[in-house]
């Protein structure tokens, strides 16, 4: 591939990944990401067709609270590159996806796990800046990662363009390293929640922690259901308190 095209594709992928953070204009969805990729490669109409088909695959893939975002962007960009550079007809999309989907799985790890772990260092530096009231430093840290996260996530596309085998190498890391990394990623939120519990905790609130946890763990309720139930119990408590006070 020409260097100019590779650079333009990298810039486009960077913009898509920045859009995940702000302003969520949805340019990272296949129905936009693929046509623009096609435009860069000289065939936007083919890009639109690929965007429609990969878009349908990812239509049901929805970001949910606290879960890592799946990566429809890398899959559709890589599929478009393979189709247009290989001069393949749209009927060949299925076989191209066999290459594009593994790259997008590595990409959700790269942008969603590694890219969500590195900024923890920024947050801890932000704690120190907040303690000293250094608002300029806080701004630099926050917006600094916002800008850096784009090229960081898009770097996988450059690796794919120049060293295609390396882009899927992450999937072939020793199992113990993968297990270790995924386990860390799955429990890191506990560090933030433990800290939050530490500041909101009072001994008399312990019962509500147990209730909230039990509604989720045993009754498999989602967070809206939990809040409705816990709020109901809080109302009962409110009533009892005000009755006891009027009796005095």
């Amino acid at each position: 591939m020409e260097l100019l095209k590779a650079i333009l594709l990298f810039i486009w992928a960077t913009l898509c990944y920045i859009d995940y953070k702000a302003p969520y204009s949805m340019i990272y969805r296949p129905v936009v990401a693929a046509p623009i990729t096609g435009l860069i490669l000289g065939d936007p109409y083919m890009g639109a067709l690929i965007g429609a088909q990969t878009g349908l695959i990812y239509l049901g893939v929805v970001e949910v609270g606290g879960a890592l975002p799946p990566d429809p962007t890398m899959g559709s960009i890589v599929a478009t590159i393979l189709m247009i550079e290989g001069h393949l007809p749209i009927t060949q999309l299925g076989s191209v996806l066999l290459i594009a989907i593994p790259v997008s799985i590595v990409s959700s790890y790269w942008s969603g796990v590694v890219g969500y772990t590195i900024p923890i260092a920024f947050i801890h530096a932000g704690d120190r800046a907040a303690e000293k009231g250094q608002i300029g430093t806080m701004t630099a840290l926050h917006l600094g990662w916002y800008i850096l996260s784009g090229p960081m996530a898009a770097s996988l596309l450059l690796i794919f363009i120049f060293f295609p085998e390396m882009a899927t190498a992450l999937a072939y890391l020793p199992a113990w390293i993968n297990n270790g990394m995924y386990t860390v990623a799955s429990v890191l939120t506990a560090v933030g929640l433990g800290m939050l519990l530490n500041v909101s905790y009072r001994p008399q609130y312990l019962g509500f922690f147990i209730l909230g946890f039990a509604f989720a763990a045993y009754f498999k309720l989602d967070v809206v259901g939990i809040v409705v139930l816990v709020a109901g119990i809080v109302f009962v408590v409110m009533n009892l308190v005000s009755r006891m006070e009027t009796r005095k």
Partner: protein, 267 residues
Amino acid sequence: MAKEPIQITNKDLWIIWVRQWFLMGSINLERWQSLGYAWTFIPLFSKLYGKDSPKLKEALVANMQFFNTTPQMAPIIMGLHVALLEQGATHEEINSMKTALMGPFAGIGDPLWYATIRTVFESIAIGLAAQGSLLCVPMLVVPYLAVMAVFMWYTLAWSYRGGKSFIQRVSGEEFRRYMDYVGMLAVGVVGGLTALWVGGSTPLAIDISGVKLELQALLNSILPKMIPLLVVLTSFVLYRRRISMVKVLLIIAVSAFVLGALGIMGP
């Protein structure tokens, strides 16, 4: 209920509206949108407390706590935050409000924005793209941005005004009591999120005379989500013992990596 209300202007709300678009800028696995939230409020805090004042530092530190919700729903919480701040609520009370509301608004917001509103525009765009029309690009981007911008501004202004008129109606004593109830709700939400947002399980299995007994299945029948609960309580206890945030992070991360690598724990 407040004695000296601080003057909040439309311009202050406007600055928050602009900044909250970047709420996700430094999103991460530990505290998610915490720095983004604190950053959104920097101009308002500076205006209220003055630059370099101890109160500014206190406000910034208080807002570096765990925060995560659907970004499109965050202005509702921020509007209430401004109203509470204006009426003299403490940072602790505000934190309870943020914690109690972030979970349910994520629960409502994700299906509303990603599964419903976006899917509507995206389906139309896919229809256009399938016919080879490049109108698919503006068809998704333009209406989605417009709906979001209008929604975020009106919910911010509405929750600020609604919150303000509610707080002004109740007496100071009543208000403190309500905030105590919000604190209960907040701790309940943290309990629920422990089970919902934290991962961790065990792949261990014991072979008893040909019958494979999976430890996780056994744990599930006693206390489901026991491992997430243990990890949250461990970090909570470490913070109680005044161990620094960086150390708690390292302790949890290193032990999770070792346990994961040894095959004792999994995601």
